[in-house]
């Protein structure tokens, strides 16, 4: 089962956990499964249309990926709040 690695303030919505295992064969499916397991995170990573929030990034291995990226059972998907602010 893929692992989701969460950083920063997003952890508060998954019970303070930094690593969560959820099912899914794409990044979008993994995020959807994460929302199903932790409803408090709904609306934080993707909006109600399922689009990635503008300042959230997904990383798989050494690169940034989109929600359409395929995810293998041994992959680690990092969900990161982008460096932005004001």
């Amino acid at each position: 089962m893929p692992k989701v690695i969460l950083t920063g303030s997003i952890r508060q919505h998954v019970g303070g956990l930094g690593v969560v295992e959820v099912d899914g064969d794409t990044a979008a499916a993994v995020v959807k499964a994460l929302e199903a397991s932790y409803p408090a995170v709904r609306g934080w990573i993707v909006d109600e249309r399922g689009s990635l929030r503008r300042h959230v990034r997904l990383f798989l291995g050494q690169g940034a990926v989109s929600l359409e990226a395929p995810i293998g059972p041994n992959d680690e998907l990092h969900i990161v709040a982008a460096i932005s602010g004001g």
Binding site: S9, G43, D47, R49, S51, H55
Partner: protein
């Protein structure tokens, strides 16, 4: 003790102080986050805060004690059929009837809660009006920022949208009609005004003691309606205002003849005119305006006051409060005759409401 909810670019500041006396930041919530709007529903005592997280988008929170943890509401969020996402929560307004609360967002839409603000649902009647695809936003986006319930009548509602005009409902939001009679969009060429949808309402408030009376700050123009928003009359031209452009608007909840604006120089120069911070009051339904300036900065003060950053209490004499992008909050406990700076060096102020 007066409590003010001040939404700022870096969190919610809860100011407390004696009416007419000094205030202090008694508590802070959502540190570092943009708090676009905060208010309290006097019926339930529940507090609401609209927060736009830099990375994670807009979310609505509520609590019964603003110094304790806040709970995230279920929504507002568009249903999948709408193919839209909430970009910003602009206003939360207690409604009429048990547990009814309204919420206005960008892109311009109205949400309703029937359980005191915990769960929210899109008001499809407004979202589905045939004209909506032609709506366009102003500089602040396409937003529904003003919600005017009718005290005692849960069916009647008026909302203001930038830049899509005034919309009225007589059936609790099931159906809507646009009402822009008398409004003049001077920012458009004369020949383009007839068929336009671009009516840039900046702020709209209803007089609770005389609900057919509404006041409006328009994008160039101040207006009053005597017929529940069906038509509008100009009360901003040649009546003593230094400019008829601005965003903030407040009314005396106990006197339907009395309203207040904070004019800004012009749409191309959104600061207080002539380097002076002045609130303008009418006590004759807009026939004349006079400056209220005692205690406010009167030289080299180029402040921007946003649309949600001005409010009154319901006291007598009336309390008035407004905040600026420069981080100051000003207050008056005597109906605007004298003012004091009740907070300074705050982050830019987006909203001010009495709790």
């Amino acid at each position: 003790m007066t409590e003010l909810l001040v939404g700022t670019k870096k969190g919610l500041m809860i100011l407390r102080g004696a009416r007419g006396g000094p205030f202090e930041v008694a508590a802070r919530a959502f540190p570092g986050e943009v708090v676009e709007f905060a208010t309290r529903d006097a019926r339930s005592g529940r507090y609401f805060a609209a927060v736009t997280h830099g990375q994670f988008g807009p979310h609505l929170y509520f609590t019964d004690d603003p110094t304790k943890p806040w709970q995230q509401a279920e929504g507002p969020a568009f249903p999948a059929s709408a193919n839209a996402a909430v970009e910003r929560i602009w206003v939360i307004e207690p409604g009429v009837g048990d547990g009814v609360v309204w919420c206005g967002v960008a892109p311009a839409a109205l949400f309703r809660s029937g359980d005191g603000g915990k769960c929210w649902a899109l008001v499809h009647g407004l979202w589905d009006v045939p004209a909506r695809p032609q709506w366009e936003g102003g500089a602040g986006g396409l937003c529904l920022h003003s919600i005017c319930p009718w005290p005692g009548d849960p069916k009647r509602l008026a909302v203001g949208i930038s830049s899509a005009g005034v919309w009225l409902s007589d059936d609790a939001g099931m159906s809507w009609r646009r009402s822009i009679g008398g409004l003049v969009p001077r920012y458009l060429p004369e020949e383009a005004r007839k068929d336009t949808h671009a009516f840039c309402v900046h702020n709209m408030r209803r007089a609770p003691r005389q609900p057919a009376t509404l006041y409006m700050q328009f994008h160039g123009g101040v207006y009053r309606s005597d017929d529940a928003g069906e038509s509008w009359v100009d009360i901003g031209t040649d009546r003593g205002l230094p400019s008829d452009f601005g965003f903030p608007l407040a009314i005396d909840p106990n006197d339907p003849d009395r309203a207040f604006v904070v004019p800004l120089s012009a749409d191309a120069d959104r600061v207080t005119p002539d380097g002076k911070v002045r609130v303008y009051e009418t006590s004759d339904r807009g026939a004349s305006w006079r400056a209220l300036e005692k205690g406010l900065p009167q030289s080299q003060a180029y402040l921007t006051v946003l649309r949600q950053a001005f409010c009154t209490d319901s006291g007598s004499p009336l309390g008035l409060y407004f905040g600026a992008q420069s981080g100051e909050v000003f207050g008056s406990a005597d109906g605007g005759r004298t003012w004091s700076t009740i907070a300074s060096r705050l982050p830019p102020v987006a909203s001010v409401r009495c709790a």
